[in-house]
Every structure is written in structure tokens, then in C-alpha cells.
Symmetry: C4
Subunit: 502 residues, 4 copies
């Protein structure tokens, strides 16, 4: 291996334009001149850091090895002598000050009593860009909301007078012990929301015996996460399959070697969805946008963070690839993103160990149905073929879960466990590791309560008859109102107080 060239700040600063553009990332210097027009996020954002240290902007939204993977070796110029780089005095914007004030004014964590509380706090303390990336979903965001609403269409049929002095909501997922019938589902770019990123999840999960699914697009590198694990801590891996299968093979085998217990291959994202909140963020962010656009019509435009980071995903992934995956790993394989009974049957017959009924948190095909709704038809179809129940094939659902009662509904209808993503993400954005622990504790409280009230002492006592899901497939759209009538009608009023003191 050749000696690494060491550069100084002033040397790098000379390459600060379109003709020659160097940047510093994680202490290394790269020549990105030829890459400018290929950058999925557009050239402008790179040029902003031309000749400077871009690490801070790079870190939260790129997989750690993105730059080394994308740039040919000859563009890796060398290392930087950090002492020679002029410190940028970062100006604190009004927006940033407001965020900091809100951070200081957060409710004490003991006042957090449900998952929504975390979301409200996260919304307040996150940057607009981070909030847009996390909260956005595709097109009209129908499906993300449907995910939540679908649970409102399932009602309980609780049983009484069973001795519920002790109730137990622990389970196994892919044969691994879990203190909750819930796993932490993969979410990307955790450092946008908290400096420790996904490690907040890892540490809280370790402490409370919960399984974490590591995202391909995590801000923290895979190894950083595994290195932070407690002894015996269980992880699953979420996989976006790369166009270059060799990269995928290495990644999967490395994960297996480091002890990951399940491979969740994302099958609903041959291309990432159009997420308009995320797309709009680009325009807001970009004050010079309008001017530039007038003159540079053909410049590649940013389509939000999601698009920027996902160009490596292979849209050709198909059922034919499953045997190959089987050949490169002994980990159980789960297909994440099944959305019909037909594909659930194909999945079972392809020999994988499970499926996640998911629409990717509403971020992919809008007006796709919720996982909990799809569960109904999947269980019927698998049962008809004798594929369900089956200890070697597990069904999970994700999307929209905010209460332990949601989880219990999914389990009563046949799911083995439920994936929870954004609530844990918002928990650490709001309160770091402590937030995630609190979230787990709330789930615990709710499981205890709801299982008692439902008359189920263990998860195995949950049964379809405990829920009324007869309204689950009803998608109701209110007919357009007769606005003239509605506006003319004068609603009833209650009794009036003597003065207007009320």
C-alpha cells in the first residue's frame, strides 16, 4: 500500500470550483470534479463545500462508505492535516436558536405517556430537513395515514373473569427471545435527528431485551452498531439489494459473520417513492434556486434526500434471485414489503422463513393497503394451502403502530410480531437513548394493561375471536358535502352562562 499523501487546508482550498473541486470528508481529501454532475443530490450542494471540510453535511445523509464506493481510487487524493484547516465559525441561525430553545423547553421525559408525545417533541426539535425526511411519505400520503387508521377499524372483543394476576408478553422472533412482541424496524439516517444516531436504539434495545433491525441506510455504520452491542444482543439486518451483487454478497456475509440473526430483504422499493415533503424541502433550502433554474434548465435537479441516497438499489430484483440469497447465507431470510396474498404464497413457496406485510411506512406506493389489512387475506390464503400456521414461517406486519393494543390486534389476527419504526426514531430524536427506553416502558405498561383487560395471559391466548375485524377492509371516503346546506344549518347550542365568563 502506497504512502498516503497528506495535504494542508490551503492546498485544498485552491480546488474550490467547478473546474477543480476537492472536498474533505472524515479527514480524507477527495477530487469530486468529475462526480459533480453524477451526484444524485445535485452538484450545487457539493460546490457549497468545494475546497472545504464537508463531513458535517455528508455524515447524516450518506452511508459511511458512499464516497469511497462511488469515487475511483485515483480520486482519493490523500489525508488532511487537520491543524491546517481553518475552523469555520458556524453561524447560528434563527431557526437553529428556536430549535435549541425548544430543546430546552422539552417536556420532562416523565411527562411522556404515549408515542405521540415523542413525535410532537421530535417535530419541534428536529431541523426542517430532518423532519421532512423522516415524516414524509409518497404522493398524497394516503397510505401512511391509512396505516394508522386501519387499526381503528379493528375492535376488541375482550373476555372477562379469567385469572389475569400474571400476564406475559414476551415471545420469540425467528427463534430469538424478545421481551416484547415488537422489534425495532429499520429507519434511515438517524444522525439527522440525534448525534448518536442509531446507537440510541442499540443501547436501549440491549438494556431491555428488544431486537433491533439495522438499516442499510443507517447513519451509523453497520460495524459501529455491532461494536456497541451488549453480549448476546440480537440484531436483524434490513437489506437494500445493490445493483452490484458482489457488494451485497459481502455485506450479507459480513453481517452473518458478526452474528446477525435474520436477513430482511426489502422487496417494495425497486425505486424510492416520490415524497413531496422531502422534495419541497430542497426548494425551501435553496434560496438561489429560482435564479439558477432560469438559466440552467437541464441541470439535474434534486428530488429530495430519499432519491439522493438510493440510486444504488437494484430495480431488477426478482423471485429468481431468492435461491442466490439462500446460497450466500444461512441466516433466515424474510421478505419485507409483501402486500398481497398472492405474493405471500409465492414467498412461502420460495422457501424463505417469513414475510413482513408492509408498505414501507407509506413511503412507496401510495394508496397501497396497510399491513394489518393485508394480514387478513394472507392468513386466509396460507391457511387454505396448509401453509399456516407453521412454526418455520413467520408473518410480521409494520406501519402505523402507536399502542400495544395495535400490536395485540395484529397478533390476534395471526402476526408473530410487529415492527415499529418511526415511534422509536422519534423517541431518540426527542430524548436520545432514554427516549427509546421510555418508549419500551410505555409499551410494557400498555401490554400489561391491555392483556389483562383482554383476558389473554400469554400471547398464545390471543385468538382471532378477540377482535372484530369485519370493518377492516372498508375504505370509506365521505361523499362531497352539500356545502350550501351545511353552512346554512345552525347547530344546537348548550345552555348559556349568565355572563361570558366561561
Amino acid at each position: 500500500m502506497a504512502d498516503i499523501r497528506v495535504l494542508t487546508g490551503p492546498e485544498v482550498e485552491q480546488h474550490a470550483n467547478r473546474e477543480s473541486c476537492w472536498i474533505i470528508v472524515h479527514g480524507k481529501v477527495y477530487d469530486v470534479t468529475d462526480f459533480l454532475d453524477e451526484h444524485p443530490g445535485g452538484s450545487k450542494i457539493i460546490l457549497k463545500y468545494a475546497g472545504k471540510d464537508a463531513t458535517e453535511a455528508y455524515e447524516p445523509i450518506h452511508p459511511p462508505d458512499a464516497i469511497t464506493t462511488n469515487l475511483p481510487v485515483e480520486k482519493h487524493i490523500g489525508a488532511i492535516d487537520v491543524s491546517t484547516v481553518a475552523k469555520v465559525v458556524k453561524e447560528v441561525t434563527e431557526e437553529e436558536k428556536r430549535r435549541q430553545a425548544l430543546m430546552d423547553a422539552r417536556p420532562p421525559i416523565d411527562n411522556i405517556i404515549n408515542m405521540h408525545d415523542f413525535e410532537v417533541v421530535a417535530k419541534a426539535v428536529l431541523t426542517d430537513k430532518a423532519w421532512a425526511y423522516y415524516s414524509s411519505a409518497s404522493d398524497d400520503e394516503i397510505t401512511i395515514r391509512e396505516n394508522r387508521l386501519a387499526y381503528q377499524r379493528v375492535w376488541f372483543r375482550p373476555r372477562v373473569l379469567r385469572d389475569v394476576s400474571s400476564v406475559d408478553w414476551s415471545t420469540t422472533i425467528l427463534g430469538q427471545k424478545s421481551t416484547l412482541p415488537v422489534y425495532i424496524s429499520a429507519t434511515a439516517l438517524g444522525k439527522l435527528g440525534h448525534p448518536d444516531g442509531e446507537l440510541c436504539l442499540t443501547r436501549a434495545a440491549a438494556k431491555h431485551g428488544v431486537i433491533q433491525m439495522i438499516a442499510t441506510l443507517a447513519s451509523c455504520s453497520f460495524d459501529d452498531i455491532i461494536d456497541a452491542a451488549a453480549p448476546g444482543q440480537i440484531f436483524f439486518l434490513q437489506l437494500y439489494v445493490n445493483r452490484d451483487r458482489e457488494i451485497t454478497r459481502k455485506y450479507v456475509q459480513h453481517a452473518e459473520k458478526r452474528g446477525v440473526k435474520g436477513l430482511f430483504i426489502t422487496v417494495d422499493a425497486p425505486q424510492l417513492g416520490r415524497r413531496e415533503k422531502d422534495m419541497r424541502m430542497k426548494f425551501v433550502d435553496d434560496d438561489a434556486g429560482a435564479k439558477v433554474q432560469e438559466n440552467q434548465k437541464d441541470v439535474k435537479k434534486d428530488q429530495g434526500v430519499a432519491r439522493a441516497i438510493s440510486s444504488f438499489i437494484d430495480p431488477s430484483l426478482s423471485w429468481k434471485d431468492i435461491p442466490w440469497f439462500r446460497s450466500i447465507t444461512k441466516m433466515p431470510i424474510i421478505l419485507k414489503g409483501i402486500a398481497t396474498a398472492e405474493d405471500a404464497v409465492l414467498a412461502y413457496e420460495s422457501g424463505v422463513q417469513g414475510i413482513v406485510l408492509s408498505n414501507h411506512g407509506g413511503r412507496q406506493l401510495d394508496t397501497a393497503r396497510s399491513g394489518i389489512e393485508v394480514l387478513l387475506e394472507v392468513v386466509v390464503a396460507l391457511r387454505q394451502r396448509g401453509y399456516f400456521p407453521n412454526p418455520n414461517f413467520e408473518i410480521y406486519v409494520d406501519g402505523g403502530v402507536r399502542r400495544a393494543s395495535d400490536v395485540l390486534k395484529a397478533l390476534a389476527l395471526g402476526a408473530k410480531a410487529v415492527g415499529v419504526g418511526r415511534p422509536f426514531l422519534y423517541a431518540f430524536c426527542a430524548y436520545g437513548q432514554e427516549g427509546v427506553e421510555k418508549a419500551i416502558q410505555i409499551f410494557r405498561d400498555e401490554f400489561e394493561m391491555n392483556m389483562r383487560l383482554l383476558g389473554a395471559r400469554t400471547l398464545s391466548e390471543l385468538e382471532p375471536e378477540m377482535v372484530d375485524a369485519s370493518n377492516l377492509t372498508s375504505h370509506t371516503v365521505m361523499s362531497p358535502q352539500d356545502n350550501l346546506y351545511q353552512n346554512t344549518y345552525q347547530p344546537l347550542a348548550v345552555a348559556q352562562f349568565k355572563s361570558s365568563k366561561l
Copy 2:
């Protein structure tokens, strides 16, 4: 029995800290030092009264014998010489002044024309804590609202041209005469809302021939209530079964001895639900909360009033206990909180005299169905087995009733009577006994009107064909809106006046 030691105020005041904590309740002095950490409401609230008279705070939220039951005899220090206790000059808060002003501005009671009016007045004149305790329900408060909405899904099919010159809505409940097909259902902690507490109900019920169900957690003691009864006044008893069955046995047998005519065993509350409005009240109340929490992470936290007062309830209660109840009392036994046809059948077969289809006013398992909806399946299941109709097994429903028309719907579908809780509670919070009387009178007016208009001269003429319940099991959740479209659409406007004087 030993002489009772008599203490002075200054003596008690010396025990005003964590190390030695005495309090005065109802003229007795107790050493609660060891009990501080076991107090379901947390130690802080007790410490506030360390060395002082805590009666005023204690009274409305504890069963009268709570302190004697929970403290070992040796901690009963003695009696207090009242003349030696320094009078606390209670400062009147702004909040309290506002409440008093609202109390003065209440609408004249003759302006009250429906149950909602009582609730609006109660909401205005109650303390925030009382309102939170009374009005709260569990989790997302879906079920409490569903209770009301379910009645909106039942429509009348009124018959005409029947001679309705006289109509009669009196009935019997468990063989006892009632002027209304409605009983006053048990609600707890009445003194939070009115100094006379549940006695307001007792007195109004006596005057109008209505049956009151006494709550285990009433602020007034059982005997106070019975002592206030008119000759021949009918009571039922609501029972939370104690972990210590001996306590329960005595309580039940005492009630029977004092003439109670029916025992309503609550079966839907092995643990009280998480009621977030109630839980949040603790944090608001507790200005030092945040600070304390930083340093005392493991201190037992308050989870609202409901949790604080309910730790004695036995979660192991089961069908196996029914014969024991049969063995200790001759009162008719009713299971309160049945929520499925399956359990209704089990109840019938267990030999009890009736069931209340109830979800505990939405305060227990959220997204459980309403009593009126459950009634449909219960009647079908019992009828199929030849268990219904049966003069020795009555079905009641409660939850969400605000109009006599609601009651008539339940009766048409098979209920014998309907329990009404909060409306009577709010009536006395707003206007004391007079409010309850007014509520009864409104029901009477509405029964007369609606029975005439429905074409039923007596309750026995109510029949299933008088209602259309075909939409009752439809739980409709509106699909997420296309917000962009909705916001872009411009509604029609009516004709404009010449100027903006309108």
C-alpha cells in the same frame, strides 16, 4: 380496648419529614412514615401534609376506611385535640376564583333542558383534577365516544295511529319497582365534585323512585348513604372484589343486611385503565415535578387518581369465584362488564341473575365495543340457546346514554334497563340534588314524548321492529383525505348581501 392517646397540633408538627411523617385524618393521627413509598399516589402528595391535617385532601379520593385498612394498628397513633391545631388559612387561587365566578354565573336550572347542559356546567365549575378524573377514559378515548356514537347508528321505525293518550315508562329492575327504565350507575369519588357527594343522588333518587347503585369507591361511605335513604328506597351495590376476600365477604354481607337488593360485580377491571387526562393532571399539578424527576428516577410515579385508588382490586377474579359469591349472599348477582356473546352465555350458565353489557364508561379497554352493539350479538346467542327471554335473567347496558330515546333503543333490542352514570354525576356537580332531580324530570319528559311518537304505550310494547339497527356494527373510519385537493377546492357560496352587515 386501650385508652386512646390524645395529641396536640405542635406534637404532630414535629413529624413533618421523610424520616418521621405523621398526618391527621378525620381527627386521628397516623404515622405514615413506612407507608410513604407504598402510597399508590406517590409519597410527595403525603409529604405535603406531613405534620398537618390532611383530611380535606384525603376525603374525596379515598374510600373512608382506606387509611385504617392500609396502616397496621400500631401506626394509629391516637386522636388529635382539634383546638390545638393551627388553622391553615387557605389561599384562594386564581383558578379557584374563576371557578367560583362560574358557579355564580351558572345558567338558572330551568334553562337546563338536556343532559349535555349539565356536563357543560360541570366542566366549568369542577376543579381541573375532578374534571380530569370524571371525564377521562382510557388510551385514545375511542370507546367512550363510541358509546355515544353507537346510539346514532340505531334509527327509529315509529308506528302511528295508536291511541297514545296515556303512556307509561315505569318498570321493574331485578323485581324492584322503578319509575324509569334507568338506574343510577356507580361512579366514584363524588365529593371531588360536590361536598355532599353521592348523597345528592340518594336524596333525588328517593324523591323520584329511581334506583341508585352504590359504588365501592364512593366518597361517601356505604353506611352514610344507606343512612340517608328514605323508607323502602332501593339500592344496588357495585363491587370491586378485594384481593383479600374476607374484606369482600364482610362488605357484601353488610350490604345485604342493610337491604341492598342486587350485587353488581365489576368484571371488566382486573386493573384500572390508563387514563391519560387523569395521568397528565399529575404533571400539571405538580410544579416541582420536573426538578424532582431529574434526581429521583426510581421514585414511584403517580399515574393519576384512578391508579392511586384501585390497587386493592383483585386481578385473579375468575369464573371459579362465582359459586363463592353465591354462597355468601342471597342478593341477586349481576356481572357488570360483559362484552361478548361468549361471556354472556357463560354468565347465564354460571347461574347469575343478570349481566351489564358495559365497557366501564370507556375507562378500561380502549376500542372495546359499546354495550348497545354487544347487546345485538348477546340477544342472538342467548335466544339460540333458549336462554332469552327469561324473567330470571336480565340484561342491562350502560355507556353513552344522553336521551330517553337512547334508552328506548336499548329496550327495543332486548335490554331490561339502562345504567346512566356520568349524566347524573355531572347533574349534581353542577346543581347538587336539584340537578339530579332535574335530570330525572328531563328523562321523564323525553320518555313521554318519545313513547308517544314511537307508538309504544308501555315498555312491553317496545319491539325490535321499532328500530333499524342494521348499521350498528358498522365502524366507519374515514379514509385519509387528499388534502391537496380538499384545500384547492373552493366551496360554493350563497347569495351575498349588499353590504357586509350580515
Copy 3:
């Protein structure tokens, strides 16, 4: 007949208290002292006019002969010498000034393009008392709104490519020609809204060939209306049956003699409904109310205008009375207020000539179904028995109609014609006779348009297949929202303008 005593103002003024209370109405003096406590509207309102001329207050809310009917002859003191009565200088209230300003600012009548416009204008220019009386409905006003909404659940299936150069929407109702398949339904107390009262309807109806149904409780007397008729003008009569059948007999026979062509007996009002808007009006109106109530608990209380004027209605009316009606008149008899298939069958079998499927404009039994919904089951039931179609038995519906398209839906489903009440009432409150004419013209325009677009050239070409009524019996109540989720979700926004000028 004895000479009539003539009194002077000062003489009458001496009887201005509870002990002796005389009032002047229509130039006659009455001693109402003994009647004070029997007055359905309460004594207080009469005492306000003790010793004075009460005509102005009396007129709009009493049938013209109310006072002579209710008072024994010996209390008819005599005539008044008008010249001796002190003119009361009526003070113009702020409210009255506001109303007058609004009256002046009314939209020009040519700007009125639909029925809602009339209602908006009427609401603005009516007194609060009149608006409350006209617009109110019973209990929660569910049914009055349902009446409108039910039409929104029926959708058109229009046929194309039929030669619709000429379309004709004239018809016959009970064999009488009508230029519209609509009749003016009975509404009470027209003078509350316009000094000419129901005569506005009469004159407009004459001019445009529309049939008016005269209300028993019209402000104008029956004869005044008939006297104002054009030659050959057709009327129907709405009948509230009196407890004293002799009064009813005379009234009916007088109507027949004066040429009325159909007798519509109201069967859904054995007692008038509790209309809370109307009831509340009393309290607002009555500034001394609260004080009085404190001391006079047992005084008969006002329950709104509706109750005050309806005490004569006979609640004993039943199917057994039908033959008697047949015996006293040759007019076709129609039962107004049928609400079930069962009663429609009974009506047919009782030998009457038709029925109105109606819930009394939502003013009687709340949560009764709409006429258009009931029509579905009625047509099925009659058809099954071979009773429908039948030229000698017509079915009408009323309630909620605001558009010609509503009427066409009802006709397609089997109605012969549709009753329209409030829209015509509001039309004359807003613009007098001219308003009613305009309303008729709007209907005409809409009939022409909609029949062309529907592909029906005559009313006989309307057929059930032209509507999709499959959703008509669906009563949808939205499940309670997950408010925490709804409030946390941030809706999508559209593209932003560069500045906030939009």
C-alpha cells in the same frame, strides 16, 4: 243576540294584574284572569299585555279563533272603542334595527339562484323567535339534517341520446293538475315571518299553477286564504285532529264546502316534539326569567312556541278513527306522517287515498328515518301485496328537498309528488310573494335542466333504474378519531408563492 258592550281604554287598563286581567284582541275585550294559569304559553306573557291591546303579539302565533274557542262566552266582555286606547309608542330595539338594515341589504331577488339563498336571507331578516320556531327540530336535530343528507345517498344513472328537445314536468296530484310534481306543504305561523303570512303562498301558487296545502296552524285563517284564491285554484288541507271531534268535523266539512280537494291528516304528532332551539328562545327572551324561577318553582313553564299552540291535538287518534273521517267527508284522505312499511300497508288497507312519508320536517321523533329512505321499503311492501302501483293510492314524501333533482329521485323511486315546506316559507319570509314565485321558477329551471340531462322527457319516463339507491339505507357514523394522531400529522402543502401576497 245581546247588544255588545263597548269599553274604553281606561276602563280596560284598570284590569291589569293577576287578580283581574283583561286584554284586547282584534278590537274585542276579554277577561283572561281565570285562564292565566291554563295558558300553554304561561301566564307571564299574558300579564305583559294586561289591560292593553295584545293583538300584535297574539296574531302570529295563535289560530285566529283561539281566544274565542278557549274562553267561555261570559268572559267575552265586549268591544273596545279604539279611539280611547292609548297608542303604545313601540320602541325600536337594536335587534330590530339590525334586522331592518339587513332587510334593506337583501340581495336583489335576481341574485337568488337556489333554495339555500332564501334560507340565508330569511335567517338574517327574521326575528330570533321566528327563526327559532321555523328552523328548529326535535332533540338533537338529527332527523331534520338526515332528511337533506338522505338525498345525497341517491345517485343518478342518466341516459343519453334521447331526443330531449321538449321536456314536461307537469303532473296531477290526487287527480288535480299541478305544473310541478311538488306541492306547497303546510307550515305554521306564517305571520311570524311576513305580515301577509300564508297569503304569499296562496297568491304565488295561483299565478303558477301550484297546489297549496293549508295548515291547521296557519296564521291566516282558513277562510282568509280561500277568499284570496284565484278561480279554480286548488288547495289541500292539513289537519291536526282536535280532542273535540265536533270541532274537527265542522272544520273538515267547512273545508270541503269551500272546495278543498284533499284532506291530509297528520298522524305523527300526538304531541309536538321537544324543539330545543324553540325552548331556549323562551329563556333568552325572558330577561326576568331567572328571578321569577327562583320563587315560583311550580309555575307552568313555557316550552317554546310549538308546545304553546298545540295542546288541542288529540293523542288518542288511532286507526279506529279512519272510518269516521270517511263518514264526514268525500274529500280524498291522505295520512301524513307514515314512517314504516307496516303502517303504509295498514293505511292502504284502511281505504285512504294516499300517504305522505314524512317525519314532520324532523320536528317530531328524532332519529326517525327520512321519507325518501322509507319510500324504498314502502314500495317493496306494497308491491309485494299487489297494492302498488295503483292509480287510486298515491305516495308522497316530504322533508329535505332543496333541488328539483331531489324530487326526480323520489319520483323515480315511486313517489307521485313531493311536499316542500320550509323553502317556500323562507322564500316569502325573505321576499314575500315574489320570493315564492322565484322559488317556483328555480324549480322549473332545474326540472327542465335535470330531466334533459337524465334523459326523461316526461315524469312517466322516470324509472327506478335511473337512480342508484343502494347506499340509501346506510347510516354512517364516523368512528371517534385518534385525535392525538390527527393533530400530530402535518398535512401536505402546495407550492409556495415567492411572497405572501397570495
Copy 4:
């Protein structure tokens, strides 16, 4: 041909009143005195231009040959010497200034990311009159909104793990190539919204291979549009059939000669609907209105732009006319405006080449169903008779489409292509030709995305199983709320921040 008389401005100005009224249009002078009372838009608007050049007002709302067609030749007075006409200094109104400011503040076109964005911009920059004309629909505007909402009732059932590296959404429509399964549907009076009118569509369509349907009521003349076409550009023609069939014959044959590839005969508009927004515009516009109306009750009143321009349409058009159309052209004939399965069958049997399931953008019969809903029953009925699928009979739908996903739903259910009208119209109102191109590009992006996510590589892979349309025929109207209850209920709140900084 006689010499054309040339007149001067002052000569024309002498004919500026009701007795003699000349106007200048497109450089010609016309005597419209006798036509004043026949003008469908009323005489007043003409008199405003009496003796002056009316071209600017005339142009956007009349077919170019309207004046020559309607006026007898002898009223064509001659040509005008333009140099002699006094230039009218047009005053710029406040409204106009506001519009211009908004035009300047439009979002940069790159910030436009969906169809709604165009509508919002168009709404801001259009005159009120243009917005009213474009956006309005008939009666209560139920159907126009239903068109959008119906798509929300169809949900996707996406298939995964299909190799979707390349997806293709091109198709043929009536055998003509189209880069999108979408054609630009006819909308009228384009110059109201942009000076280039429909030519914006023509130029953008040419550039992107999209088919434009030319409207009979386009502001640009048919020939202007065709003259602007690119070589080989494909057009369809929308036809309102004239009462004078000879005019229609010439128009159709001229179109065919100029290369139009399909004749879309509008069959749902024997008369144009009552569009209240459009009708109200007249009153607002017309400040002297109220005054005039007082005195001139019988003057023909304006009923909005739509009525004004449509009097030539023949309401007698019927199935019997189809053979005649067949006889005058070889173009494929499509019936636009079919709304039932019955008429779809008749259309097929009449030998035409296709149908558009349409309700005219909600502008005709209100509460008619949406095209996408009608598609369900049409496909069933045609399939039952062996008429579907059939390469020689294509089904299109239009109305309410805003997303490529909507189009894919229609195609999965059997449509060959989808018509999109207002979105393209609003696109050019907002940004001219460039807007239309952007709209096409957005559709392209969305098709790529959604086909990948749906698992359909070509349009032929779309199949009914890819959608769940089971809720499509459900028209849900929410029952009237219990407002008293709703207003009394206090929603849950989330955790509070320490101060009100949030």
C-alpha cells in the same frame, strides 16, 4: 363579391345606443341592433361596447365565427380603418394589479411537483370570471368532487419481486401512438386564461407525443390549432352537435380533411348545466345589476358564461343520429358522456368505436356518478355480452384525475386511456406551454415510479387484481352529528412544552 365598405372610428361611434348599435370585432364593423335582445349573454354587455371595438371582450368567450354565423350578411357593415379608432386607455384595476403581482410571485416552475400546484397558481393568477368559468360545476358541485374522491376508493394490490428495471407506459389510442395512456381532453375558452389559449396545449403535446382533443368551444379556431401542429401530430375533435346539422357536417368533414383522427361526440350536454359559481359571477361583475333589475324585470338575464355560449347545441340529438354521423365521416366515432352500462351496450351495438365514461367534469347532471365507478358496471355488462375486450372498441374515462396512479387504476379496471382536462388547462393558465410540458413530465415521473412499485412493466401487465375496487360503489354520507356531544367532548392533548415557545 362586392367591394367592402371601409369605415372610420367616428362613424362607428355614432351608433352607440339601443336604437342603433354597431360594434367592431376583428377589424370588421357589425350592426347588432336587432340582435341585442337575442344575445344569450344579454344586451347589456354588448351595449357596453356600442360604437367601439369589442374584440378584446369578444375573443375569449366566443367561437371565432360566432358573429358571422349569427348575424345576417346585411348586418356586416364593412371594415374599419384601424388608424381612425381612438385607442381606449385601459384602466388597470386593483384586482388586475393584484393578479399581476401574483403572476410575478408565482413559484418557479421547478417547484411545481404535482397537478394541484398548477391549480393553486391558476386560481391566483386568473381573473375571477375565468376561474369561475373553468372551476365551476353544476348545482351543488357534488359530482365534480366525487370524480376525485372515487379514485380514493380504489386501492392498490402491488406485486413485488418482478424485474422492473425498465418500465414502459406508452400506448395507442384509437390506433394512434401516445407516449402516455392519457390524452388532453377538451376544455373551452382557453384564451380566458392565457393569451395563446389552446395553442399552449398544441405545442406542448407536439413536443411530447401526447394527443390533444380539440374543443368545439376552443378560443382558438380549429384551423389555428391545426396550423400550429407539428408534422404528424395527432388530434381528436370534441363535437357539440349543432341544431343546424349542415354546420356540423361541414365542421366534421373539414376536421377529417385536416387529419383529425377521432371524433368525440358529446352526448351528455343537450343543454349546459346550471353552474352557480359562473352564474354568480354575472351579478358580481355587474355593478348596475340590482338597479337595472328593479325596472326591467323581463329583460333576458345572463346565466353565466356557459349558458351564453351554448345555445346552438341540439337537445334532440339521439341514437337515431348515429348512422348519419357514420355516413359523413370515416373517422372513428366515440361517444363522450356515457354514464350507464345500458348506454355502453347501446353504444357498442350502434357501431361506434368507443365511449368515454364521463360526467363532463361534473358540469352537467349533479350527483351523476364518476367515470371510474361507471367503468365497473360497463366492463361487466360488455363482457357478459362478449363485447369486451375488443380491439375495435375502446373505453376511456375522464374526470378527477390528478395522479398517474389514478390512471393506472382506471387502466387496471379496463380503460384504454384516460382524459385529463382541467389539470392541463390550469398548467397553461399558470405557466403557458411550459406548464403543460411540466405537467406531462410529472405524469411521466409518476408513471415510472408507480409502475415499478406496482410490478407492472407495461400497461398490458396491469390487471384487475392489482386494484381493490370493492369500495368503489360505496357512497358514504356521514350521519348528522350529535353536535351537543361533539362540542362537549374535550379531545386529548399531547405533552406540554415547558413554555409556550412551541
